[in-house]
């Protein structure tokens, strides 16, 4: 679990790669070693970055494009990463900014829709409609995998982003706030609301008569 650490500011320093001329051989060797280590550390996180990116983006294709662009930029800008800070969050911050730059996402106040009265309603609907069993694991298995994927996709982006980062990506509220460049209180309120929207979507996915 990676629930601590901070996201270093992603400054663009792509031009800083070409100033090695005249540097001492030892300095060049040290820098090459640091760069290789950075690249290896970043690539080791690729699966985790992709899993989060897949649901920040709208499709597998978009996610693959974004991850490639993210890594291309990260490898060019590696000097702006502060060793010891959270590399996975740093990569996700680049990815989120690229997603916004490409016009696929806009930063805006999300539309507020009325929510269910409480947080228990999905369990109540599933439990009352089944075969009488209220065992929590069996109740949840009444939801199909496809329905869960569809329900998450149906959650509006501003809410889905925080669910994806916190619930799927194991980022802290603080990291999610820095990655998305929103206040931590907004992360908390969107998470709360987003989870309820997700549950509403799941409840609506149940066949007629089950919900």
């Amino acid at each position: 679990m990676e629930r601590s650490g901070s996201v270093a500011c992603v400054a663009e320093r792509e031009d800083a790669n070409d100033d090695d001329e005249g540097a001492e051989p030892l300095q060049i060797a040290t820098e090459a070693r640091d760069r290789v280590r950075f690249e290896e550390d970043a690539l080791a996180l690729a699966d985790q970055v992709y899993r989060v990116a897949r649901h920040l983006a709208n499709s597998r294709e978009e996610a693959e494009d974004l991850v490639q662009e993210t890594y291309a930029r990260a490898f060019r800008s590696w000097r702006s990463f502060q060793p010891g800070t959270n590399l996975r969050a740093w990569l996700l911050r680049i990815l989120t900014n690229l997603n916004i730059d490409r016009g696929r996402r806009t930063q805006r106040a999300p539309q507020m829709t009325p929510l269910e009265a409480n947080d228990y309603f999905l369990y109540d609907k599933l439990a009352e409609s089944g075969d009488g069993a209220t065992d929590e694991d069996r109740v949840v298995e009444r939801l199909s995998q496809d329905d869960v994927v569809a329900a998450l996709s149906a959650v509006p982006h501003d809410f889905r982003d925080v669910i994806v980062l916190v619930d799927l990506g194991d980022f802290s509220y603080q990291d999610a706030a820095q990655i998305l460049d929103i206040p931590i209180g907004t992360v908390m309120s969107r998470l709360h609301r987003g989870r309820r929207i997700l549950k509403r979507e799941l409840a609506e996915s149940l066949p007629e008569g089950e919900a």
Binding site: L43, V139, V148, D167, L168
Partner: protein, 81 residues
Amino acid sequence: MTTDYFDDGCSHCEEMMQPYLDHVLSDAEVRDAERHLDECETCRKRYRFEESLRVYVRLAVAEQMSPELKEKLAALRVPLD
């Protein structure tokens, strides 16, 4: 609904569920929530369901990166001079 015996304690416990499962409550709030959970099967079942749901959603939406993409990312590395 199966909430006939829902009372004020349950309403408060329901409000505490998300922050409780996110581990962001104070020690005193955790004690409050757990005191209610010890006594109340209604809330206990729903807390356990929420935990199961989170795990279930995480597993259901997990998608592996393709080997091709992994190769493409490795090819983006800057070659050593």
